[in-house]
Symmetry: C2
Subunit: 258 residues, 2 copies
């Protein structure tokens, strides 16, 4: 075969110049052919947002042996869709988001642009993984995560993932990693979510901020516990969000019109 | 009690001036005290996106007996968070997104700004419902949906929703409704997602478009089948996206570093 290495599509929500995605490239370079299609600037908190009111465009910024990098004007999901529709030319063996600067465990999965990429890949039937480090700093140290990134990608390429499932992998911000734990999504909530400031001429404006309240800090099977206890947290995630139990319960409700 | 009517927070992703949210107000006016906090313009496809790079602000645009309307510079989820943090002053009895101009069944739940509002409400422990009509037109006829909207809201206020669950309600674009079906999320995929155009001076640009491919057109328990067959589709939805079956399976994987 002319092309025996797997093809991996990489993207992120911090932009193609962020340290995290460049560390991801470093981790996987040589193991696979890498195509990066990432936003041209920060898109943190983009979730699965798509751009429909304006068109999107992309541009090649780098091409080397085994690596091509494109920047794109859209959201992380736009990047992923456009890569598959237009740029790649063949179906990738895996889609990877990250490495994100910041925690995507627990409820953060819903707001995460990194996980938007992964959910998009999963909806397209492609094994997909999001990697995130619990450190928002632009110069965060990712070095200790890279051997785990490589091993998790290799093991997932080998085993595959069941249709409709993907992986949300979070690293605690410590070099003293105790290993990997397979987790469920922690139940918790963001509180005190805005800081109010006064505009010099008119009214208030609000910065999104807040603190995370863990509803189950002692749940050893939950991803937040794993991170708090120095484990790499792998949270298997699904795209069918049906509440099946509630379906049964609701069959006795009254929907007849008066 | 001075205040015996329930308090409902309404938002949408089409903007506070859209017909859909004004029809929603019409449906619920008098049944409850309504506070609208909606984007100041269209935010279709915003998913659960949040705004963190810039601050957000809001402004009151209307106040009448039982109805206050605010417009907000942020995403649908920003509107929902800001309403709960700053505007409402008490916990709403329900959060409602819509009525959306366009279908949010099947995989669209992931891209939907309407369902972003609902997921945010659900994460905050508040019964939440998204309503959508399978018609994108800005002047779509919502009139036949309004009695169902009212009945579904009343029945949900009466019964409540289990913690961590919410409702995704879609209406087919027909006056000949056959009733309500409780459904699961249909498995399907968007294909041919971009139309390429040429810029007069440089390169291509891409409009998001595409067609939906239903993987299970004959599944009578799926939301897309209900819509295709003139039923109101209620899809109970959950915010815990853990793939529990895969958790077990992955415990035999090898994550030891070489």
């Amino acid at each position: 075969m002319a092309n025996s290495k797997p093809l991996l599509l990489l993207s992120n929500d911090d932009g193609y110049q962020a340290k995290g995605i460049n560390e991801l490239i470093k981790a996987l370079r040589g193991e696979a052919d890498l195509v990066v299609v990432a936003p041209d600037g920060p898109r943190s908190g983009a979730s699965c947002a798509i751009t429909s009111a304006v068109p999107v465009h992309y541009e090649k910024v780098k091409e080397e042996e085994g690596l091509v990098v494109y920047k794109c004007s859209g959201t992380p999901v736009d990047c992923t869709k456009l890569a598959m529709h237009t740029i790649l030319g063949r179906t990738p063996d895996m889609i990877i988001g990250g490495i994100n600067h910041g925690d995507n465990s627990s409820v953060n999965v819903h707001y995460s642009g990194t996980m938007g990429i992964v959910i998009e890949g999963c909806l397209k039937g492609i094994p997909s993984i999001g990697f995130s480090l619990c450190n928002h700093a632009s110069d965060a140290d990712f070095s200790f995560t890279l051997p785990y990134v490589r091993q998790i990608v290799k093991e997932t390429l080998k085993n595959g993932l069941p249709y409709g499932t993907c992986l949300n992998v979070n690293f605690p911000d410590t070099k003293d990693l105790k290993g990997v734990r397979i987790c469920r999504q922690t139940d918790g909530v963001w509180i005190n979510e805005f800081a109010e400031c006064n505009h010099p001429r008119h009214g208030g404006y609000y910065w999104l901020t807040g603190s995370y309240k863990n509803y189950e800090p002692n749940a050893e099977d939950a991803d937040h516990w794993a991170l708090d206890n120095c484990y790499v947290a792998i949270t298997p995630t699904k795209v069918d969000v049906t509440a099946y139990e509630l379906m049964e319960n609701m069959k006795s409700w009254n929907f007849s019109l008066d």
